[in-house]
């Protein structure tokens, strides 16, 4: 069932179609809100709030953008409102040197590829909120720059800059902890797999 059919079914009162929509988009919503609020215990309530808003505003959806972009916008705004409500939204202009200091060290000397991927994923959680948001939207959900601009309200240039700076921070941190030898080892492991 495509999105247009799904929407018309829901607007006609078919709640099974709504359950189907939630199943289809729950990963999108949980990744965006999760990366924003970073609290597993509150995550279900926030995601539920997002889908209730989706249901209540579905009649206003006008096909001007993809349904996923529209839902992501609601998820982003709900997450940002949550952060503002609990006064955790103070990262308007992220300071990269502070952000770099916030990143943690690699726990072991064992550079298995999976470990390194997990380590980087954990470091993303420690990045400033805008950095981790654009990384999630661009790399995990594969939204375009224009779509991210639509979702977050940030200009395209800012989105690109945050993405670049986020990766530069991760690279800077990795540079300190991964030497040439271990990189070769990681490459060998990757090639073997």
């Amino acid at each position: 069932m495509n999105d247009t059919e799904l929407i018309s079914q829901i607007l006609n009162g078919n709640m099974n179609a709504f359950t189907f929509l939630v199943n289809r988009y729950q990963k999108l919503v949980v990744y965006i809100t999760g990366r924003l609020i970073q609290r597993q215990d509150e995550l279900e309530d926030v995601c539920q709030e997002v889908f209730i808003k989706v249901y209540q505003n579905l009649g206003k959806y006008r096909n001007e953008c993809k349904l996923s972009t529209w839902i992501a916008t609601i998820a982003y705004n709900t997450g940002i409102n949550y952060l503002r409500k609990f006064k955790k939204f103070d990262e308007v202009n992220p300071d990269d040197s502070v952000a770099l200091r916030n990143l943690s060290d690699f726990g072991s000397k064992n550079y298995e590829t999976a470990d390194l991927h997990r380590y980087i994923r954990d470091q993303i959680e420690l990045l400033p909120v805008h950095y981790r948001t654009v990384i999630t939207l661009f790399h995990l959900q594969e939204f375009s720059y224009q779509e991210i601009e639509q979702i977050t309200g940030m200009p395209e240039g800012t989105v690109k800059s945050y993405l670049f700076r986020a990766k530069a921070l991760l690279k800077e941190k990795l540079k300190d902890i991964v030497d040439e030898n271990s990189l070769k080892m990681v490459e060998e492991i990757s090639n073997e797999k």
Binding site: M15, F18, T19, F20, V22, N23, Q26, V30, Y31, G34, R35, Q40, L43, E44, C47, Q48, F51, I52, Y55, L116, H117, R118, I120, R121, I124, E125, I135, T136, H139, L140, K167, L170, K171, L174, K175, V178, E180, L183, V186, E187
Partner: protein, 115 residues
């Protein structure tokens, strides 16, 4: 060279799914919550409709009595005016019972069912 390799590793890692999970029955729970939320609005609407109908019927009856038996209506009005406190109390109580019956009890019942 090291830089290129690091960038390659980062590019691959940023696509790794985060550790956030929702319960397996999340979609069903959301649907139930939405149904409950919409039901609450319908119940509130029903309560206002009923209250409006009762008020309209009373107003219509008063109008008819005004035409048929003006004296009785004036006596009734005088009674209300001289006993405004108990009359107000009775009206508010009836209104409260209607509200509890049509809105509050249904809301509590649906919440207890969901939990």
């Amino acid at each position: 060279m090291k830089n290129d390799r690091l960038i390659e590793i980062i590019e691959r890692s940023v696509g790794v799914e985060p550790n956030f999970v929702l319960p397996a029955d999340f979609a069903q729970r959301v649907t139930t919550a939405v149904v409950g939320h919409e039901q609450w609005k319908t119940d509130l609407q029903e309560y206002f409709y009923l209250a409006t109908i009762v008020i309209t019927l009373l107003a219509a009856a008063s109008g008819i009595y005004y035409l048929m038996d003006k004296e009785l209506l004036i006596r009734t009005m005088n009674f209300f005016a001289s006993n405004w406190a108990p009359v107000t109390f009775v009206i508010l109580t009836l209104n409260f019972i209607l509200f509890v019956d049509k809105v509050v009890l249904r809301l509590l019942f649906s919440r207890s069912k969901n939990n």
